[in-house]
Symmetry: D2
Subunit: 345 residues, 4 copies
């Protein structure tokens, strides 16, 4: 049994992670640590949660590390890097769900996060945890920087298209719509029920941090700098991300070429479902599951590709991918503990 702990277990990502680990047949949870709620039972915050009887512990690094094979950190950026630096002293695996270990380039990180990274070298040593793309590196990594929710959806969709040089880099638009859990559990007027219900809005247009994370990864695929328009929107739902991605096709590229690129890249990936041409997924097809589903349309009038991809932001976009990465790191079947399907109803 893998002994696992979570630091920052009471936020939305941490809570989902606790649920997944509790049901995972190869995992024993050792500590659920929380700065704000240490000493309380998990069930006081989340009644009828499978971890409801757990008593939340303090964030005592040594105690946690000595009892654990893997520690997940689900903390705000900045705080997370400081914590991971301490965790790194111990012989454990680490999956960090913040933005602090997702970049190769600390200058890029510091530009978009507006903080200095306390250990650029540790950041560079971490592996980017987009399971389908970096599986081999994840296997042997000590620290995984678990990807952001919007970035998971965006990169998985764009990577094979760029790698195979099928789309015009100057024309990429990623119009994304996310449920409210993506904004976290913190209080703000903007997340009051009466503000969100029956409402819809764009936010952080042209300056959301996930832009840089997507661009760094697809630029690697392109062997050149690629910049995209990324516009997140807030849906009046709790969960799920739907991304609508637009790009002009390179001359002569056909729908078959698109589908071939997707199939070659993802055919054996258990969590990627390819609908092919002229069929696109809905948010509910994926909420509750660790899958990404994608389908596309080629608008021949414009020689433009429109792709729709969906994920559950808390699963494939956060806690689910974290467990998938753990499975890879510990040489388990990648789908262990993640075989739930979408909650259609």
């Amino acid at each position: 049994m893998i002994k696992a702990s979570i630091i920052g277990a009471t936020g939305y990502a941490g809570t989902e992670l606790a649920r997944l680990l509790k049901h995972h047949p190869g995992v024993e949870i050792k500590y659920l640590a929380s700065k704000s709620y240490a000493g309380k039972e998990f069930g006081e915050l989340y009644p009828n949660h499978s971890c409801e009887d757990f008593v939340l512990s303090n964030i005592e690094i040594e105690k946690i590390c000595k009892a654990s094979d893997i520690v997940f950190t689900a903390l705000p950026h900045g705080i997370s890097s400081e914590t991971v630096i301490q965790l790194n002293e111990y012989d454990i695996k680490i999956v960090d769900l913040s933005g602090d270990f997702r970049y190769n380039d600390e200058v890029l990180y510091e530009k978009w996060y507006k903080v200095k990274h306390p250990s650029p070298s540790l950041m560079k040593s971490a592996v980017y945890g987009l399971s389908e793309l970096y599986k081999e590196n994840i296997k042997t990594s000590k620290i995984v920087g678990n990807p952001g929710c919007f970035t998971t959806c965006g990169i998985i969709t764009l990577y094979p298209l760029i790698e195979n040089d099928l789309i015009d880099h100057e024309t990429i638009v990623y119009d994304a719509k996310s449920g409210v859990t993506g904004a976290g559990r913190g209080l703000s007027n903007a997340l009051h029920f009466c503000e969100v219900e029956s409402n819809f809005k764009a936010y952080k247009i042209a300056n959301h941090r996930h832009t840089s994370e997507i661009e760094e990864k697809i630029s690697i695929a392109a062997n050149e700098s690629v910049y995209i328009s990324f516009t997140p929107h807030l849906l009046p739902t709790k969960r799920g991300i739907l991304g609508t991605i637009y790009a002009n096709l390179k001359d002569g590229v056909t729908a078959e070429d698109i589908q071939k690129a997707f199939v070659e890249k993802y055919n054996n990936q258990p969590f990627i479902k390819l609908l092919g041409e002229n069929k696109t997924p809905e948010l509910k097809h994926v909420v509750g599951s660790n899958s990404l589903i994608t389908g596309f349309v080629v608008d021949k009038r414009l020689n433009r590709l429109i792709i729709v991809s969906v994920i559950d932001n808390l699963l494939k976009g956060a806690a689910g991918q974290a467990v998938q990465n753990m499975n890879i790191m510990f040489d388990l079947d990648e789908t262990t503990g993640l075989n739930t399907d979408g909650w259609y109803l």
Copy 2:
């Protein structure tokens, strides 16, 4: 008092129109006609509606026209054109809410609607009822083809940019999100509460009819054919459209140029609210009102413009604009009966 009647009064657009006309200080409603519900009281379908005591009448053209100064038709396309041909025999004004009188070019209409138009000449004689753009023509028109909901939002936003040659025509993306009333009152599994709630999806990608309506009008502004990507999505809300529009700026075009074009076009238009640069509206700011609110961001990294515009699909996108057009046709203040503000809560 203007004597007004509605044919097709029980659909969602017709119902809103009845509400607006009932409260309009210069209007007396003569007939609310309905094929399906003739003989019933309006309040049986819509309790506590201001027209609840009205008995729905049959669609008897002669009777309705003789009693009315203006007749609104809120019927399915195809049926609407046949009805308007009959209405046209009488000395009345007509505002048609279907797609049947929105086009100059019947070939375009027939291509996208897949039906033959029964009177292309009557179609050509109609004025396109986008109030802010065609006010002078609307004043003297007999038949107004009231615009579609997505098209109202799209054309108002794009027109001044194209007219002033500020954006690259090859790069226009209109990613639109609409509430469910836009799909109408008809029954289908896709509109069952359990299908829509907590869900989100794109539909009719690259083939929604409103694409052609937008393209015809902005092509006139451009003096050349302009084609766009238009992707509608279904929000789990009842009302409202939010459009996110992307286009690359022509060389040297600045945010100031964008704002200047909007201000010159819309400064005196009571229902157009310009937020300017770096401020964008939310759906709730406009639900319940006849306004269109728009704001934009220039992403200098990409020299790309991102505009967000919102309308209430049932008001500025349908019944509200129909009343606005009536006000113009009868030389009333354009805002009469339309001075409600957004229902923030």
Copy 3:
């Protein structure tokens, strides 16, 4: 023109009140005062609100009173009573939306509100603003204690039944369900979108303050102390209250007797809609309007009456009734500025 001001204009009730007063043909708004937001434009908080251009002012009692014929206070209880004591020094009318001036009996108030009332005599001099029941007193009052939302729905429904001795006082259950605006604009984890959406719960069972307000008023009708079970629940909607009320019928009482009692009491009341036997209202029939709609079923198997009543908690349950009371106090038609119907869609 009545010169009106609001102290506490930015909470949900204050905001709705500002909207109603702005559209009221006999009112000129003088001050919208706010402790938290003085100096800001109203539109910064509520874009596209009809008062968006108003600059929120400080709570300066003298300045406000000298400019106003009537001042509405929409403040937390305790704070409200202190403010009204100051307002009372001026020759103005006052409508207080808090619980501070709703009781005859300060002992009852202090028991349920757990605070000492600073002026029991002023409280006693105030008139309870349930417009339909106390119209004559409201006309000549200086201070109106505007009723609570649950209480308005409960008292209007129960009063004629108790006054006519039709139901068994020992068996009254008022199971109420309210939208989230009833809980106000303040931040709390319980009002986070992700807590409320798709959720439903009872709260403050057997100890909600409105219990005492209902009991005081219906006890007067009964000429004896009447106690009820009142259970509020939180609906995942923004607006509206639906109350399901149960009581055993006194021997021999029929459905006709029930209907007769309602008709005699409310037949000429413009905002009370009586559906009669075997027809009950839905929440949406009333959201957006100042009406209360009620209908009932007699379960002959049990000789029990089940009544369903609905109101919009922000209108008839707060701001709408406040305007109705103002109309009565200033001898205007009671419905002035309140003739909106339900927003069905």
Copy 4:
């Protein structure tokens, strides 16, 4: 492995049942049969469902029975009884999710369902599948009549109180609120998204069929006829039932007596969670799980008990309890395949 089939697999209850059986470690699904969709893949209706690759089969009784150890029928009442009569010819277990096998008394059934039962003797031979109350009988039964959703919530809550003579039978009120999946997948204007969203209503007041099902079972516990007020309401959510139950306490009965009765009855029942006095559950605590959670308040002013109970209508109220009953019939641990916890988010 238990070989299981479902007849009527595409309704909401059938769909959830298919999901549960697919993940059940002791079950192999043989047939998913559907009158309307035979020949289609399950995934065409429910993409990303764990049974998406299953081809829906025709309702061929012999073929299905010969391949199955257990057949679940999720069909409309009336149709279900005819089908079960045929299934009964084979050596299989049957769990029927309709109302057709829930009653002892066919007169009662026929009065409330307005149809004649084709085999009252078979109905009498069936065991009522309220797992916690009839476990011993379920073990050896051939046909289980799986309880209704409202009835499961109501009976589990009321049974120990009545059995122990703690409440006054003349004063029982069960005010229930259900998500829309309870109304099924069939189309009707009342279930259109725009009708349900932001709405709330009571329906079938004093004449919902589940009234009779509850009354039959609690009358057995009482050894006399007990009649109750049962009022269902429709929540704007997809899943879940919250019941608020009122009853006057018999003289001298205390909160401790109430809790004792619950504990004695349900202490070892894995799916019943007892919160005790002054703590009540929310809908979200149970959606996604097979649990019933209950808590209560004693209002000493009235000597009245108020209990709040919640279940997931599709799980404990339908498909989950059906699986629980199968587990009992096949001597598996009762919780097998049902250990999911609530979906808090």
